[in-house]
Symmetry: C2
């Protein structure tokens, strides 16, 4: 339950006028507890929260930009939007690793959009992990 990212997320939730219910906090804590988790894993971390509520919380959080939804194969995954990092996805075994160093040229990024206001970006790298080579 500790962690700056978790606290910041709760603050944003409250700030937008939504109630910080135990269920929402539980889902948020579950998401905070790992990276790029599948729905199944998140549900396992807060079994006391009903399925419907988990779906609704995920929709709410992604809508508010608190949580990011990812498609890295095998269904959607979720993680806190707060920390900016990217993913290495192995096309053979499906494993996922993170890396911090963002290889996006932010200068040319701002130019690319034209009149599109860029607020965030996601980058995934696909290939083969060291184990599969």
């Amino acid at each position: 339950m500790s962690g700056l990212r978790y606290e910041a997320a709760v603050g944003k939730l409250r700030g937008c006028g939504y109630k910080a219910t135990p269920q929402r906090l539980a889902v948020l804590a579950a998401i905070s507890a790992g990276q790029h988790q599948r729905l199944e894993e998140i549900r396992a971390r807060c079994p006391e929260v009903g399925m419907v509520t988990v779906y609704r919380a995920l929709d709410l959080f992604t809508g508010l930009g608190i949580v990011r939804r990812l498609d890295l194969g095998q269904g959607p995954r979720y993680e806190l939007a707060e920390d900016h990092h990217h993913h290495l996805v192995c096309e053979d075994c499906g494993s996922v690793k993170e890396f911090e160093r963002c290889p996006v040229d932010l200068q040319s990024l701002s130019r690319v959009g034209g009149d599109f206001e860029v607020r965030a970006h996601s980058l995934e790298l696909y290939g083969r992990c060291s184990d599969c080579r």
Copy 2:
């Protein structure tokens, strides 16, 4: 049915020992006919192909790397993997536009992986489109 990308995809299919059935060609043509289409749109372009076969074709194509599966919100989308471009996704209206100019620094990209062999990447930009501003 014309188009270099379509032809190359058929070639790759045959080259991997898979039969180029009318159904598979129809699905491939449907995908080639647009960008980042949803399953629904693809199905509408080849209504003569059974649902099961469309699912199987999409699995096969994405497995072979002929087709890329995307998550830009509102369920999976598909497009030919051939042409390298990225997406601008509007968080307000959900519209998607493409852009060609890749703002990823390929030099630092190759360094980022370490012993991970990077074969492809996908980049999406999220924000607000000109209409929603």
